[in-house]
């Protein structure tokens, strides 16, 4: 095993802001994730999408960040989708009870 470097790649389309998040999402990178989210999480003109296909690790600190975005987007009535959740990450979303609040926006479970 090697520690996978955390990386965020942002992309903007006509309909959405997409953050592709990969590597280990732990306490050390929470500030980096917050600064990537800060300029886009309040935008109501486009959907916000987190692509997690390359995510290799997450714990309660990363889940806490996702929960805070979930709550903010709900308050703003703005779309927020989480996609390509790896099985090991999905298991933690289920254990912590947040999986039921996550939508892929594709009409199916993320």
């Amino acid at each position: 095993m090697r520690a996978e470097p955390f990386q965020i790649v942002a992309e903007e389309t006509t309909e959405a802001v997409i953050l592709d998040v990969s590597g280990d999402f732990d306490l050390a990178v929470v500030p980096q994730m917050r600064s990537a989210l800060e300029p886009v999480m309040h935008r109501t003109d486009k959907a916000l999408i987190l692509q997690l296909g390359g995510l290799t690790y997450i714990d309660s600190t990363g889940i806490g960040v996702i929960v805070s975005v979930l709550k903010l987007r709900d308050e703003l009535k703005a779309p927020f989708y989480v996609r390509d959740i790896p099985p090991a990450i999905m298991r933690l979303f289920e254990l912590t009870g947040i999986s039921g609040y996550l939508s892929s926006g594709n009409g199916d479970q993320p």
Partner: protein, 144 residues
């Protein structure tokens, strides 16, 4: 494999990956299943997160001691740090998942202890002479 391996890290988040890498090495050598190793990676990180976030904040000087102890029954991991664990011990009995009703009821914090309990077979918070230790154990799979 039996005996103990000790790792000491500065109480800073940038060292958390080392704690997981060390756990991975030991648990792999003990032939734990992939899913069990993933569980332990999260649990040991959560214990360290607590020590980093609720430590005594004397920055740069504090350390976290992680002890991995393997025996025939499983792997015991102890995460010891300075600072009081009174809040931690109290929270252990009330740890719960995030979901309660609508999104507004979701809590962004406090999931760490819950995850430790959900992912490990035993979790205990103890006071030590200098601070707090979280001791947790994952049982080895039964031989068929």
């Amino acid at each position: 494999m039996s005996g103990a391996v000790n790792l000491q890290i500065p109480a800073h988040a940038e060292y958390l990956d080392l704690v997981r890498i060390c756990l991975y090495g030991i648990a792999s050598k003990m032939s734990f299943a992939y899913e069990d190793i993933e569980d332990m990676k999260v649990a040991v990180s959560e214990a360290c997160n607590n020590a980093i976030l609720h430590g005594t904040q004397a920055s740069g000087l504090e350390a976290i001691d992680i002890r991995y102890e393997a025996d025939a029954t499983g792997l015991t991991i102890e995460v010891a740090s300075r600072g009081t664990g009174a809040a931690l011990a109290g929270a252990l009995s009330s740890a719960a998942p995030a979901a309660e009703g609508d999104i507004g009821g979701l809590k962004a914090g406090g999931l760490g202890l819950y995850l430790m309990q959900a992912l490990m077979d035993e979790v205990d918070v103890r006071s030590t002479s200098v601070g707090t230790a979280v001791v947790m154990k994952k049982y080895a799979a039964m031989e068929p």
